[in-house]
Symmetry: D2
């Protein structure tokens, strides 16, 4: 599924994500840097976590008329500001269509949802490949014109298969990976290749019901609300930084099958909101928590 | 706080809560029993838990013109139906104002809420006593005209103090107990005196964050939604059958103090909905889960 | 898109939807009818609207061992019960895959969602045809293997085009029609062919913001929550009986474009819940309101 | 109900609310003003309404070490910045306990809720007076130790009674007024005395069901969700800028009485959130819409 336009167009705006120890004058310093170089701020969000004495900022500005050449912005910002304030930062440019790989197993609902959003133009995201450990979802992949690779996982071949998968991702210049009900646990090594760039959807309101069969557990516990959680994948199962959650009311009248059905709608929408926030560069991660600017 | 009317008025309707192994003809048998004795059904709710092959029913009917005398209905139902179908059942009558004891520690928000609902007539519930392990909330108790008993708990005197508390509850003919942020764990023995008649409010979306300081844990985990849970108290801490839950969205911008503030509103409303369902006799408990007829 | 099985399989259960003036003995009469003929009740839901003194009931029972032949159930029920109690009723059988026609204009999100649910097996619904007044969505129709008919509407040709559309629906034995952001108003005559069988999705929380451009109106009014409404189509625009609604929180930070984006997710899920309830035969309509059994 | 401390303590921080035509350099100018005078920013929120080309900002900073004397900050800001950028602005100081008057008629639920929050210390708000057009709620007023004034409204005496009410408000140095289900329409003249300082709670999801008896209308229309809306009062009934809304799910099973009961919980919490945002100085009003910084 290739967009009918050049994926690397002239960037219109720059987005800077920053966090650093809190101190006086941080907002001023950043806004001064942009103003002095003739940038027009489109968005500024900041947050101070008083608990952790940490400052977070997202700022977006127009590049038209900006004095520093686009390819030099990072360098200048680093030298002039970041080092002084001990800032962790990332710089992104609009107009760069992100490239997403989707990992699936047998359940199709999130896959259809994501492919529909991409194909219809709702999302401006490239999907060069779908990877699975089962052949079941080849049909929708083909139907939407996306390459489908099946890697059977036997337990003993995990290391080798992950190596093959990483090669594909690397070759296709994948920016981030989405686990859309992928029923395999990624190795620590795999995760390390895409830090805060692998998004998982878990079918419970974490930290309740981590691991397998959360809808069964929810039924057994008799909860009155079920949830879904989208988070960045870390080496710890279902324990990575949470990006988005949502819930739906259930009752005694709902069987496990009903929970699964209601949960599907949750999973679709929670995962899609997380992906949206990710590609809009609205997310900062610090200390296993996310700051998601609205 | 005593209502200005006789608490034992002529009952207008009977409510029967039933559960038993599922089989054919249960609804028919019950409706026939009521019809034949000239009762008019006001409400009938039923539920079959296919997973557990269990049948649940709530039926309410007018007593005017009902042939069986009120005090004999239980006996007749037991002999004619319950034994045959192996039914667990409870019979209640409208017009009997339930008597609620409130246990508190230092936090006043749920207490004010409940007393306001009773005094304003929103709830038709008697509150003969408030029991606490701290003197802090004596003022609102007095203000609403409710007796306040303070039992300091030292760890070593728990058994004795609970005995004193039970004596009060017994003497005041208390129907059910509400733990409104009561910061003590009741003994198994105490709980056994009021099976499925002690309602607790826990300030998290159980089973996430049981035990102490759930708002702190929620903050640390970085959840995007917090919740509150009302449940019947059992011998296992925060593990009893859930009656009601609700949630509210939070974000990185919310400090622990903000979570506490937002949580207070949740706790109030979740607890009040649970109490409402309880006194309306809408709740059946089976296998640590509730069936709550709407 | 044709299911790989015979669409008319042996029915496993019968579903009866009833409403009538409220009186004593209605539940008993219906359950007796089923029991005497050896049916096993799978579900019974009833509701009395005290305001309107109207009784509503949904009952489903197994047909295996049922004494009355399937094709005679309606007749027997009518003669033995319905006439006596002045009941309005409908009888459905499981195993009959409903046939849905989808009407669209240019917006694809609901269309993709419904086709994905059908193709993946989440829904057991046949979609023999998609009808549009624009050619834009022919591609997804083809991609999912569904016939696509485009009828340009000029204002003057409406009557004729609707006649052509009705012929197609009739020929394809369509059970119900879904308007998935179809930007045409159906004539009273067209609606009369499918009473309570045309489901529309409106992109506001009705009765707020009926008619065109509700997201613009919501922005202008400065609401803090937006909604979507699925309802049966009647001759009055956006005034038919509401089946399902849901909402999402918005803020001053959301532009109209953001409202449209957030609203899309609402529309998808609200419409899909309404379709689910419709094909599960859970909906009764009376006096322009719905009773939706859960 | 008088707080046990001096209501005018030393302010710890200043809060500036600004809106003006959008242009480059606004954030920089404000942050520079604060930094140069040795203020430490505690919070900065900004919003650009692209639709209306309007810039909004809320900034809070510590006054300790701030060079400009507290009583001169407004003047300096006006001269140095506001005139240049054509800013509308308001300046507030922490430590000033706001003084709230409550207007009621007969319904007590919001009144109890607000008084409980004030008395328990959840809110740091003074309530010097409760004004009503009925004597019914004198008891809770007395119980919480608040002066209660009853002004019977006959239609013909409205102008005079409002004059008397305004005199009281004026004498008591009331900062803002809350209409807690006050069943009278304030005159345009009255409203003009407290622009964006009169908060009303309306028991529907506006703009649906304005005016009288919204729960009856909601029942008649058969909506599946009901709401409550808190807004600033303007001369147009129920049409002022919306501060906060929330909703709760209902069903066919809910009678009008049930809607009223569920709605009460909504009204309480929606009104209380609006009051919280107001006294935290988080609200800007422009063009009949609110910007509510979180």
């Amino acid at each position: 599924m290739t967009k009918g336009k050049d994926v690397r167009t002239m960037p219109m705006s720059a987005i800077l994500l920053i966090h650093c120890p809190d101190r006086k004058g941080l907002i001023l310093a950043v806004t001064e840097f942009i103003k002095k170089n003739n940038g027009n701020i489109l968005y500024l969000g900041q947050h101070v976590d008083a608990q952790k004495a940490r400052f977070f900022m997202r700022v977006e500005w127009e590049l038209q008329d900006f004095i520093i050449p686009t390819e030099k912005i990072g360098e200048y910002f680093d030298v002039l500001l970041a080092r002084k304030f001990n800032m962790q930062w990332k710089l992104y440019f609009s107009g760069r269509v992100p490239r997403m790989a989707i990992f699936v197993s047998k359940l199709p609902h999130c896959l259809y949802d994501m492919l529909s959003r991409c194909q219809s133009g709702e999302w401006d995201i490239e999907v060069p490949v779908i990877i699975s450990n089962h052949p079941n979802l080849e049909k929708p992949a083909k139907q939407f014109g996306v390459d489908f690779h099946c890697f059977s996982m036997t337990g003993s071949n995990k290391q080798e298969q992950e190596k093959n998968q990483l090669e594909i991702l690397n070759k296709l210049e994948i920016d981030f990976v989405v686990l859309a009900r992928y029923m395999q646990i990624l190795s620590e090594d795999f995760v390390a290749h895409y830090p805060n760039r692998i998004i998982n959807i878990h079918h419970s309101f974490l930290p309740a019901f981590p691991g397998a069969k959360p809808y069964h557990s929810a039924y057994e516990r008799g909860v009155k609300i079920i949830g879904a959680t989208s988070h960045y994948v870390t080496a710890d199962l279902d324990a990575g930084p949470i990006i988005e959650q949502d819930v739906v009311r259930v009752s005694h009248a709902d069987s496990i099958k009903d929970l699964v059905r209601k949960g599907r709608d949750l999973e679709r929408v929670v995962l899609s909101r997380a992906i949206w926030a990710h590609v809009q560069r609205k997310i900062l991660v610090y200390d296993n928590r996310t700051v998601v600017f609205n």
